[in-house]
Amino acid sequence: MTDNTFTGMDELYRDFILDHYRNPRNAGTLDNPDATFEDLNPLCGDKIRMDLKIDDGVVTDVKFKGRGCAISQASASLLTEQIKGKSLAEINKLGKEDVLANVGINISAARLKCALLGLKVLKSALALKYVEEPDL
């Protein structure tokens, strides 16, 4: 219950975050995605859907659609840039630290949920695919 994750707001909302919030990369949906998932943070209403094209174990295309705060939307946007062309094995290793590295700052517990929503949706989409096609 200490305040060690608090950081200046100017540091949190840097230009590239606002840019990704206002001009999300890979925005939209894909026709016939190989994997897709949508999730909602019911407490705050943030919502993200992610569609993926996967070819030979590599993410060849990704689009996302969502609504919510700058943190949730910008991290999702950053995440889509990061994973394009990556192998599923590499994506599997992505964790909280990578998202924080993308955002470039340590954030408080309440906002962490926002930042991690995109990653959660991504992992759920892939998990669902694995379950349906275990030989993937």
Binding site: M9, D10, G45
Partner: protein, 420 residues
């Protein structure tokens, strides 16, 4: 900065408020090194030492389970528990303490009506009337009741100005058995005409249920004058502790209702396979109740009475009026809800394309606490066409300076988001 002169506040003087603030220990906190500016009392109010100490004193001097206890401290606890009920009854204008049922919160109170009155009085084809501005707690219990009984749900629409659109009320009330509505919107601040709505429900043969969560803490409420059948409210929003609320109901209705929760304390004669039940209010209070919380809520009521509900109401209105004036002058701020004539000190807003969470985070970095989200009002947000708003709400311990702090923090958020 705007050119608006700080208001001559109504109801409470600066000196009154200074004295009041000294009773609230939390106001000395400095989150992120900034002075705490607590503008989220509509979600839950802060507590004066008088309330904290009343509960402390209970645990330190006379805690014991109530009823059936013959020994001294148990007698003291029983007395305090029932005296608290009498204080609360007096506070809301009923001479009959037995009409006040202790519940955990308003939500439980509304569920109690839905389960006990609803399950035994509604049938397929009956209608339940609600409004489009209900808090989830005064909406979902009726949805479940409708699903289980086959009753139909109807809604009084919310007009563009944030008031109820009552044009078609007589039609809507036709065939209605129960009309549940909020006294004050927790998102828009709209004050609804409770007395009129309750009277029209009665004339149509419907029982009226008032969600008084945002009314009882901030304006004089007299259940006799309101003329409704049930009202529910929560202690934690009116300077009281968490874990306690009140369902008030007309004695004749309560007397005719079957129990809801059953177990110790609410029984008459218990045999292995059947039981008789105690009279109201005990019939609705199964198990060991929230005794310390009742004591705390009574202390909260005494505090509010000592300040005076009419004065609190006037003061809050003058703060809200000042806040609306100042915010209206900040470009990119969009305000929701009706004009001051029909509202209380709850102000919902959006600022440019800043999401409410980002706004609340930046305000927090300045020590300013506002709520961000759907405020348990998802259908209303849908209607307003926004996913979330930021909401500032005022109470007796807030000051015009805190309104200024809110405005400055919003200006900071705009700078960070590079909004003109």
């Amino acid at each position: 900065m705007s050119a608006i002169v700080k208001p001559q506040t109504q109801g409470l003087t600066q000196a009154d408020v200074a004295r009041i603030r000294a009773n609230f220990p939390i106001l000395a906190e400095r989150p992120h090194g900034k002075q705490l500016v607590f503008l989220d009392s509509a979600a839950s109010s802060q507590k004066p030492v008088q309330v904290i100490e009343a509960m402390d004193d209970y645990y330190r001097r006379y805690h014991a389970n109530i009823h059936r206890g013959v020994y001294h401290i148990s007698e003291l606890a029983t007395e305090a528990y029932e005296e608290a009920r009498a204080s609360i009854a007096r506070f809301i204008g009923t001479p009959c303490a037995a009409e006040c049922i202790y519940v955990r919160n308003a939500t439980e109170g509304l569920n109690l009506v839905a389960y006990s009155w609803g399950r035994s009085n509604l049938k397929r084809g009956d209608a339940i009337l609600l409004t489009e501005m209900e808090h989830h707690s005064n909406l979902v219990p009726w949805q479940v009741l409708a699903q289980q009984t086959g009753a139909q749900l109807r809604f009084v629409p919310v007009a563009d100005d944030g008031r109820l659109d009552l044009h078609d009320l007589d039609n809507l009330l036709d065939g209605v058995r129960l009309f549940a509505f909020t006294a004050v919107s927790n998102t828009l601040g709209t004050i609804n005409p409770v007395r009129d709505l309750a009277a029209r429900a009665r004339a149509a043969g419907a029982v009226s249920v008032v969600d008084a969560c945002q009314a009882v803490p901030r304006m004089p409420v007299d259940v006799t004058e309101w003329g409704a059948d049930f009202i529910a409210f929560s202690g934690h929003k009116m300077l009281g502790p968490t874990g306690i609320g009140i369902l008030w109901g007309r004695k004749a209705l309560l007397d005719a209702m079957p129990p809801f929760l059953t177990g110790g304390g609410m029984i008459g004669v218990v045999e292995l396979t059947k039981s008789t039940y105690a009279d109201v209010p005990a019939r609705f209070e199964a198990g060991t109740p929230a005794i310390a919380e009742a004591v705390g809520l009574a202390a909260a009521v005494r505090y509010l009475e000592a300040v005076g509900m009419e004065r609190i109401h006037q003061y809050e209105l003058s703060l809200a009026g000042y806040a609306l004036e100042r915010l209206a002058q900040v470009p990119a701020v969009k305000l929701y809800g009706p004009p001051m004539s029909d509202r209380t000190g709850v102000i919902s807003m959006t600022v440019g394309d800043i999401h409410a969470h980002d706004l609340a985070s930046i305000l927090d970095s300045e020590g300013v606490c506002v709520r961000a989200g759907h405020h348990c009002n998802q259908p209303l947000m849908e209607k307003l066409g926004v996913p979330a708003t930021a909401r500032a709400s005022f109470y007796l311990y807030n000051t015009p300076d805190e309104v200024d702090a809110l405005v400055s923090a919003i200006e900071k958020a705009k700078r960070i988001f590079k909004i003109a």
